[in-house]
């Protein structure tokens, strides 16, 4: 099995995020592997361990993303590829990311490509499906179970609280949903082995991509934080008075009944 995993470095949305000048401030933000990509990495490692083969993790980004690749190697991936666009591109969008990845992957004969269902920063969930489309292979999103038997694949996918069972075949791209597995953390031997694993760095030139081919098609108009949640209100009085007041407020203030 020749397995590839798409990995994105994102800021940690559990930490404090500061927006200023229409941009998320990178200073002081914590950066992590997109959590959905962790499920993808874990699944790739498990499939490789069961079926043999190799796991390559791929990211597009800057020098800083090397750290997330090292973590993936420490978890158990075999090789890592950093497509460094730092010097060539100011911006990336779903279109350009999928295009760059497809140029990298088109002659790699991947049997299985795994990605996260969404990246928690942009949240579009488009890169995986777009990439599969460009490569001309099958794809299934939000998978919670993946069984491979030869080239036959049985999948359970999450459909908003319900699940759907599908059958398809390799080569295939899937995007991982929470519940697919419990991602491991890097072990100490894993961290030590990762030091010796190959990490290849490519630039657009190496992929014969012209900057004009990857001009972004999405324009970001504004970035802002969600409004602060107002403090709750505690109703007073005996129970029946409170219920009365609640119904009243739902009607007159919240206007939901």
């Amino acid at each position: 099995m020749n397995i590839f995993v798409l990995v994105k470095r994102t800021f940690d949305t559990e930490e404090k995020i500061v927006v200023s000048g229409g941009k998320i401030q990178e200073d002081g933000a914590e950066f992590i592997i997109n959590p959905y990509d962790e499920y993808a990495i874990e699944e790739a490692i498990q499939k490789r361990d069961a079926l043999g083969g190799k796991v390559t993790v791929v990211t597009i980004g800057g020098e800083d993303a090397e750290k997330q690749l090292r973590t993936a190697l420490a978890m158990g991936a075999d090789e890592a590829v950093l497509i460094n666009t730092e010097d060539d591109l100011d911006e990336l969008d779903q279109y350009s990311s999928a295009y760059i990845l497809s140029e990298y992957l088109k002659d790699k004969e991947a049997d299985l490509i795994l990605a996260g269902n969404v990246a928690i920063d942009g949240g579009s969930g488009q890169v995986g499906p777009r990439l599969a489309d460009l490569l001309g292979i099958n794809y299934v999103t939000t998978v919670t179970s993946l069984e491979i038997d030869g080239t036959n694949v049985k999948i359970v996918r999450d459909i908003e609280g319900d699940s759907e069972v599908l059958e398809t075949s390799l080569p295939l791209l899937v995007t991982a949903q929470q519940g697919l597995n419990e991602p491991r953390y890097p072990s100490l031997p894993g961290i030590m082995k990762a030091k010796k694993k190959p990490l290849e760095e490519l630039e657009l030139d190496d992929l014969d991509i012209d900057e004009d081919d990857v001009e972004v098609k999405v324009e970001t108009v504004e970035i802002y934080l969600p409004p602060q949640k107002a403090a709750g209100r505690v109703l007073e009085g005996d129970l029946s008075a409170q219920v009365k007041e609640l119904v009243n407020l739902l009607h007159s203030e919240a206007k939901v009944i």
């Binding site: 090292r70 420490a74 953390y185 890097p186 072990s187 100490l188 031997p189 961290i191």
Partner: protein
């Protein structure tokens, strides 16, 4: 100076430990503190991830790292708000076996200690009537055929209920028959699964902090002679030569605690507003935090110096002892500063400060009390008359 490559690795190591600790948050440790529970899940996780096998050579299934790396692992556990005291013995108690055990003993124990299938978490030295005066200990092992018959009593022996093996220091030759009082002591490996109920009685001691410590009553306990480590009568030396490693590791735990306290106190001092301004704007709050931070950084330098000497196989007794004292004092100062900064909330369990405050206080007394470090430095470094 450390090489860049090494610094990168230490950073990865820190992050690796943090990733494990992240799954065991304040609420996890708080709950255990409330019920005096042992952090079994945490210890399993950190063992499975291989971090406690750091010091075990690769040929025995460990990672063969130095004391600096090992100390960083324990530091990060405490820095994350956890308590490495629950598991540190698994990391270093095996040193006695590694340095002085026979090949057969090493092959029998070390791989399983590295993968966690054997827990070597207990280390039995202290006795109720002799305390710090270790060579005076009374527990006696009498050889009978291919067994030792052990009788005596130990106190404050931690994690016995959560361990498969215990390293036990006993007297094998009565003191009055020895040339030196440090002769005649021996180290035995006790299989706790066999011993408990068959000559070994374990009674938990309730303490100020959650530490799973116990009292041991040893009554005709049979220990196979093959469980003797090294030579009979040389046990005290074997224990002593593990002390520098222990001092450095404990210093690192203190540094981890100290950093946790400083981070918490700093954050709280920025956010808490009374008298219309953040309390951290008052020098009465700000300066003690800054002072504690400075002391902590200085202690950390001594700990790194000691660790680097140790890893180069150079004499480090002075540095290791001084690092332990400086770090324990610095973490205690930081604890005090944190609880003061938090005002009343420092005493409320849900903020974790009071829990860590209790935990870090222990380092002034155990595993080695501060006074004994002062007497070591006075006698061995400054060549003052021995004071005890």
């Amino acid at each position: 100076m450390m090489q860049t490559e090494n610094l990168v690795f230490l950073e990865e190591l820190r992050e690796g430990v943090r990733a494990v600790c992240k799954r065991f948050d304040g609420a996890y440790w708080r709950k255990l503190d409330e019920i005096d529970g042992y952090p079994t899940d945490f210890v399993e996780a950190i063992t499975q991830a291989g971090f406690l096998g750091a010091l075990i050579p690769e040929q025995y299934g460990g990672s063969g790292l130095g004391i600096l790396e090992a100390s960083v692992i324990l530091e990060e556990i405490n820095r994350s708000g956890g308590n490495a005291g629950a598991c540190h013995a698994q990391m270093y108690t095996m040193g006695t076996i590694l340095r002085h055990g026979s090949l057969a003993q090493k092959e029998r124990y070390l791989p399983k200690i590295a993968d966690g299938s054997l827990r070597l978490q207990a280390f039995g030295v202290t006795e109720p009537n002799t305390g710090t005066d270790t060579t005076n200990l009374k527990t006696f092992a009498k050889r009978e055929g291919d067994h030792y018959i052990v009788n005596g009593q130990k106190v404050f022996i931690s994690r016995v209920e959560h361990s498969d093996l215990m390293i036990l220091l006993v007297r094998t030759t009565p003191k009055d028959q020895c040339v030196k009082k440090s002769d005649g002591l021996s180290v035995l490996v006790v299989d706790l699964n066999e011993a408990v109920g068959n000559g070994l009685e374990v009674r938990p001691i309730k303490t100020m902090m959650n530490h799973a410590t116990t009292e041991l009553f040893i009554d005709n306990l049979k220990v196979p002679v093959e469980n003797l480590i090294g030579e009979e009568g040389k046990g005290f030396r074997y224990i002593l030569d593990g002390m520098n490693a222990e001092r450095i590791l404990i210093a690192a735990e203190c540094i981890g605690d100290g950093r946790w306290f400083i981070e918490r106190a700093t954050k709280y001092a920025k956010e808490r507003v009374v008298f219309d301004r953040p309390i951290g704007q008052n020098q009465g709050i700000q300066f003690p935090i800054a002072q504690a931070h400075i002391h902590l950084e200085a202690a950390d330098l001594m700990r790194i110096k000691a660790a680097e000497l140790y890893d180069r196989h150079q004499a480090c007794g002075a540095e290791a002892n001084m690092a332990k004292l400086l770090a324990a004092d610095a973490s205690w100062e930081a604890a005090n500063v944190a609880i003061q900064t938090y005002g009343g909330f420092g005493f409320a369990a849900e903020y974790d400060i009071e829990r860590k405050f209790k935990e870090t206080r222990l380092y002034q007394v155990a595993p080695i009390s501060t006074n004994l470090i002062l007497s070591y430095v006075g006698e061995h470094i400054l060549k003052l008359p021995k004071s005890y």
